[in-house]
């Protein structure tokens, strides 16, 4: 009788490494933006190296790694790395990541939300230093609107 070899099942694991160039240059404002959007993160200390740990082995050295958003754990899948021109690049495996309200963590969403919130944080910080205080703030899906005032 012919000896049949057992069927071998194959599973393919695809990595989804994505790099998104942002306009962000200041890590402090970026951290404020991430906190505002509910993201948790780890920042590399001096001499420390952080790497992303995507589901399928997308390991990239980064300066800051995003660990989660609300109740969602991202298992260090994505992070930010400073490039030669001083801007930060978001990089990692975005596949399957969701925000706390169940939406897919789309790379465009991440870029737009973080860039806008980072600009907001920078604007507020610069104006606060000049004695302005926020008196009105409004945010919709498409824009952030702010009013700051001072009496001189």
């Amino acid at each position: 009788m012919e000896n049949l070899s057992p069927t071998k099942s194959r599973s393919y694991k695809l990595s989804h490494k994505t790099e998104i160039k942002t306009e962000l240059t200041n890590l402090e404002y970026m951290k404020k933006a991430l906190s505002k959007l509910g993201f948790t993160y780890k920042e590399a200390k001096e001499g420390q190296t952080l790497t992303t740990k995507g589901n399928y082995g997308v390991n990239i050295e980064v300066d800051l790694v995003i660990t989660g958003n609300g109740g969602q754990q991202y298992k260090d899948a994505i992070g930010f790395k400073k490039t030669k021109d001083g801007t930060y690049t978001a990089t990692g495996d975005f596949y399957g990541l969701k925000t706390q309200d169940g939406k897919a963590l789309n790379k465009d969403l991440l870029k737009k939300e973080i860039t806008a919130s980072s600009k907001e944080a920078e604007l507020i910080d610069r104006l606060n230093k000049l004695g302005f205080e926020t008196c009105q703030s409004e945010e919709t899906k498409d824009y952030i609107s702010l009013t700051l005032e001072r009496w001189t």
Partner: protein, 66 residues
Amino acid sequence: MPHEQVKARIDKVTGKLLIEGVGFQGDGCDVLKDIEAHLGQITNIEEKDERYTYVQPDYLPNAIAG
């Protein structure tokens, strides 16, 4: 005691930032330009006088009579 106000609108889709200053006078306007310059490339500036200097015209019959 002058009251100065900065209104800002950040477009999430395009990333553009629009800043409008209300109540700034003289050198105070430079504050806005400095902030804008730090935040990114300035693509458009519009300035509008809040107060107009109004010169009382001559009384028309006198002007005609010369």
